[in-house]
């Protein structure tokens, strides 16, 4: 039997500990250690006039209070601009603790350390901060009007003007047989992992070393940031991401103020310190995403083929730009999706507002780009009286056009060249899966039940697996255990399982022998992080390459022992053997022992490798030149550019014309992420993404008032979907392998969320005949839209005199 686990729905090995309560999340670490709590700004924009901590000093159990005045050296400087870009002309970042100004509600001003969190909060609420309030900017429209400014030296509130074009758009639009121009909006949501952020730090004063646990998506970079900011040598800092209770993007940002302040306090106090973010803190001091105003002009011909597209996006980046302009670049470049757009121009103006920062949330700008493009397709179809699926089909890139160059520059600085795909295949599968052509019958059936029914679809292409690199280390121990390590982190994606599947398949060992470690800088110091659906592509290929290196060495050593030709050898079920010659074999664990020539026999197995154990060849050194002791290999995977996964979603909605409740009654997904390592896990990723897509389309929004107060900063008021809000999802797969990497895989993490808003907006528009140009949409907003005499109606609704049941 050949060990072949790649592609199988192997059950997850992380589950064994997680289902019995033995997971080790951030707040499970360091029982009884000192706790940090923060005094955060209650104002969206204000000057700090003073901090009076006098009343807090009497609190029994108080250990320390820190303000900006206590920060020295690099800690007193602004936080880093993590991803600089030439078009980010006015980057701004906050300080670990506010330096005289606060620019959003929730910005940290004072850190309190005490014997436990209760006491830390007792002290924090006794600290008086005096503020002078300043005018507040909330929302993209207020930002672009710039009657008030966020940063006084940026009078137009514009942080960046990102611009890409693939031809001369104005003459192309002038020459187009038809054009349409429209403006649409999309609102803010957020990652909202069930576990907030958290940091635990332990300083070993004797060893002068720091161990930090952080609920992060990028432990190696958090390590580097801590070393830089606290002026420690990198080798004195280790950072470990323990079990992480969800990330979805928010934990890729770093260093968060707390990731620096908690270690700083641990060093100053010589005691372990921990901070675990509470839910309100997460709402007001982590990150949000999605808000954009999109101004779109499209040129198209009589058949609905797009001839030119001009898009101007106003992107709300919140108060600061620590993550650069990654989200708007992704919107700008992924917007064109699976379509041929002969001439395309996009300008994104990224603007400051007095709100929480905007950094990637699963999809990271793609849902907005998909919303822009797919709603454009719907408008073109409506204007020409064509079927929406047909208009899409006419514009799709065809399979013979790969590699397809969009002549754009992606978020990794590399060209947007699609590696492979079959977009007509996706569309055909979707039409069949959702029953697109039976929509009229579904509509009639719903009408008979007094409901309005609509169908909508959206397609996307997702750049996944961007570089620069990830690495993998594979080591076979004398016990036969295979240790695998990679530097990127895990937040529930099942990396321990899929990387074990890959290594077991490549090396030819039982999966039970493989143990995988991620996100621990003690084990692997070089890594980038977990974002952009990159873990399987990057670390998957890196551990595969590392396993191949081990395999090659094992076969070489075994061939010498067995006096066989390495080319005739294989590894199967942990046995290195001559193909077709039973008995001519040696266990991999023995090869591991032999790979390390020994002087000392510390156990029975080791005896085999000692200097008097065998005949040996005394004409050669025990370790050959260029060789190394041990059966291990380290390798890296660094791609030329991203892979491009793709998919198509369709939603069927039913709307109650009395309550205007919107119910997604059917949701279909066709998904292509290249070769699939574990279909069970990929489907799980799709399910979770769709739930977030539905949430973003119908329920979730960050409700800021004009003063910059987040009105719904709790799970009571921010409506994250429960099971009752998530439709059943039917999934069909297509596998178009990537030619760019050894395993032929593309990423799958973000896919499920991308087309949700676009597909559901399309379905609601189909059901109601009213143009849907702002998402998410609530029943109340839909009710208001239906009663608004001036609301735009679709051409389709005017032609078919669609019964929309507007209440009297």
């Amino acid at each position: 039997m050949t060990t072949k686990l790649f592609g199988e729905p192997v059950r997850r090995r992380e589950d064994a500990r997680l289902i019995v309560g033995k997971g080790r999340y951030l707040d499970d670490i360091g029982a009884g250690v000192l706790a940090a709590a923060f005094v955060r700004s209650p104002h969206a924009h204000a000057r700090i006039l003073g901090v009076d901590a006098e009343a807090a000093l009497d609190v029994e159990g108080l250990v320390a209070i820190y303000t900006y005045e206590d920060l020295t050296g690099p800690m007193a400087e602004p936080l880093p601009v993590l991803i600089p870009h030439p078009q980010l002309h006015a980057p701004r970042t906050g300080y670990p603790l506010a330096n005289g100004m606060v620019n959003h509600v929730g910005e940290p001003v004072v850190m309190v350390v005490a014997t436990d969190r209760y006491v830390a909060e007792d002290a924090a609420e006794r600290i008086v901060v005096t503020y002078e309030e300043l005018p507040v900017v909330v929302g993209v429209d207020a930002a672009r009007e710039a009657r008030a400014v966020v940063h006084e030296d940026i009078p137009d509130n514009v942080a960046a003007r990102h611009h890409q074009e693939t031809g001369d758009v104005e003459p192309a639009l002038a020459a187009a047989p038809h054009t349409l121009s429209f403006t649409q909006y999309i609102e803010r949501s957020a990652c909202t992992p069930l576990e907030g952020k958290g940091v635990h730090a332990r300083w070993d004063a004797d060893d002068e070393s720091l161990r930090v646990h952080s609920s992060t998506q990028a432990s190696t970079s958090v390590r580097a940031a801590i070393a830089a900011k606290l002026e420690l040598s990198l080798d004195r800092v280790e950072v470990i991401a323990p079990d992480v209770g969800g990330g979805f993007g928010v934990k890729i940002v770093h260093p968060w103020p707390e990731e620096l302040l908690v270690p700083m306090a641990a060093i100053k106090l010589g005691r372990e310190v921990k901070w675990a973010e509470d839910r309100r803190e997460h709402f007001v001091s982590s990150a949000h995403e999605r808000q954009q105003r999109q101004e779109i002009t499209v040129g198209y011909d009589d058949d609905g083929r797009i001839t030119a597209l001009d898009v101007h996006v106003w992107h709300d980046n919140g108060a600061y730009t620590p993550y650069g302009i990654i989200v708007p670049i992704v919107t700008a470049t992924q917007l064109v999706g699976p379509y041929v757009v002969p001439v395309y121009r996009v300008v994104v103006e990224s603007v400051y507002t007095n709100t929480v920062i905007v950094t990637p949330y699963r999809g990271a700008g793609r849902p907005q780009g998909c919303y822009a493009m797919e709603r454009t397709m719907d408008r073109v179809a409506d204007a020409l009286g064509l079927d929406r699926a047909e208009v899409r089909r006419r514009n799709l890139i065809t399979p013979d056009q790969f590699p397809y160059d969009h002549h754009l520059t992606f978020q990794d600085g590399r060209p947007v060249i699609y590696d492979s795909g079959d977009y007509p295949g996706l569309l055909d599968k979707l039409v069949a899966l959702v029953g697109w052509d039976e929509a009229a019958a579904l509509r009639a059936d719903a009408q008979a039940r007094g409901k309005l029914l609509g169908v909508g679809m959206a397609l996307y292409v997702e750049g996944t697996g961007p570089g620069p690199y990830e690495g993998g280390h594979v080591q076979v121990l004398g016990s036969g255990k295979v240790l695998v390590s990679t530097g990127l982190t895990s937040q529930g994606q099942g990396h321990e399982t899929v990387f074990a599947q890959i290594v077991a398949s490549e090396l030819g060992v039982p999966m039970d022998d493989v143990e995988v470690h991620t996100g621990d800088t003690r084990r692997f110091g070089y890594a980038v992080g977990t974002f952009a659906s990159r873990a399987a592509v990057m670390s998957g290929n890196a551990v595969a390459l590392a396993a191949r290196g081990v395999r090659e060495k094992a076969i070489r050593i075994a061939a010498e022992v067995l006096e066989a030709n390495p080319e005739d050898m294989e590894i199967d079920e942990g046995l290195v053997q001559v193909k077709g010659t039973p008995g001519a074999s040696i266990p991999l664990r023995t090869v591991a022992v032999l790979s390390n020539p020994l002087r000392y026999a510390f156990d029975e197995a080791a005896k085999q490798a000692t200097q008097f154990a065998g005949p040996g060849d005394d004409s050669k050194p025990p370790v050959a030149p260029g060789d190394a002791p041990g059966l291990e290999h380290r390798d890296y995977y660094s791609p030329i550019r991203s892979t491009f996964a793709s998919g198509a979603h369709a939603a069927v909605v039913e709307i109650d014309p009395q309550t205007w409740e919107i119910d997604v009654v059917r949701y279909a997904v066709v998904h292509d992420c290249g070769n699939v390592v574990n279909p069970m896990i990929v489907e799980g990723q799709v399910h979770g993404g769709v739930a977030q897509g539905v949430g973003g389309a119908l329920y979730e929004r960050m409700a800021y008032d004009a003063d910059g107060q987040l009105q719904n900063a709790s799970f009571m008021d921010f409506l994250m979907p429960y099971a009752s809000e998530v439709p059943d999802v039917v999934i069909d797969h297509q596998e178009t392998p990537s030619p760019l990497n050894p395993l032929g895989i593309k990423g799958a993490g973000e896919a499920g969320v991308i087309p949700g808003t676009a597909a559901i907006a399309s379905a609601i528009e189909d059901a109601t005949g009213r143009r849907i140009a702002s998402m998410p949409i609530s029943p109340t907003e839909l009710y208001d839209l239906m009663r608004d005499e001036t609301a735009e109606r679709t051409a389709a609704s005017r032609q078919t005199s669609l019964q929309t049941g507007v209440p009297a």
Binding site: R11, R12, D15, A16, L18, I19, V20, G21, K22, G23, R24, Y25, D27, D28, A31, G32, P42, A55, V59, E60, D116, Y118, D122, E125, R126, I127, V128, V129, T130, Y131, C191, T192, P193, L194, E195, D243, G245, G246, G247, F248, R279, G492, I681, E683, G684, H687, G688, G689, V690, A691, Q692, F715, M716, M720, Y722, A723, S724, V726, V729, G752
Partner: protein, 177 residues
């Protein structure tokens, strides 16, 4: 300007005696301490997770005298004399000292009903209690499934596989009668 809070520190302590997962436990805690902190910090049972601390997400759900409660909303002193079951207490020991998982735990693994695992303990104890309380011989209905999973938040799975796990566990429990 913020207003200073003038509230006396609540440092009154009480000793709480409670049976947790079948084991009598005792802890002396400030009266304001919530049950989730008692379990996690005083008794070292960190399987119970706190996702929102305001009773909405359900991650911290434990059983008090058999009923699911949000341990972030219950004071530790309120469980004096009660029987508390946490996720650590769902599995039972077999006669050889090994662990036999509850059918719901088995089902979660089999059906890929968890990803990051943070909300999982709350789902597990809620569903386990619900399945224990119902007539096992009856085929589980979709309404029952919705009821059992409907009160907890999960951000990873989209719930489809959690519902599948409930059906799976109900079938196992029916067949094991």
């Amino acid at each position: 300007m913020t207003t200073p809070v003038d509230r006396p520190q609540t440092d009154t302590e009480r000793t709480v005696t409670v049976t947790v997962n079948g084991v009598p436990r005792e802890a002396t805690v400030p009266v304001r301490r919530v049950l989730s902190d008692l379990l996690r910090d005083d008794l070292g049972l960190t399987g119970t997770h706190v996702g929102c601390a305001h009773g909405v997400c359900g991650s911290c759900t434990v059983l008090v005298d058999g009923d699911p409660v949000r341990s972030c909303l219950v004071l530790a002193v309120q469980v004096e004399g009660a029987e508390v079951t946490t996720v650590e207490g769902l599995a039972r020991e077999d006669h050889r000292g090994g662990q036999v998982l509850h059918p719901v735990q088995e089902a979660f693994r089999e059906c890929h009903a968890l990803q990051c695992g943070f909300c999982t303990p709350g789902f597990l104890v809620t569903i386990a209690a619900g399945l224990e309380a119902r007539d096992r011989s009856a085929e589980i209905t979709e309404e029952e499934v919705d009821e059992l999973v409907g009160g907890n938040l999960c951000r990873c799975t989209g719930y489809a596989n959690i519902k599948k796990a409930v059906r799976h566990a109900a079938t196992t429990m029916r067949d094991a009668r």
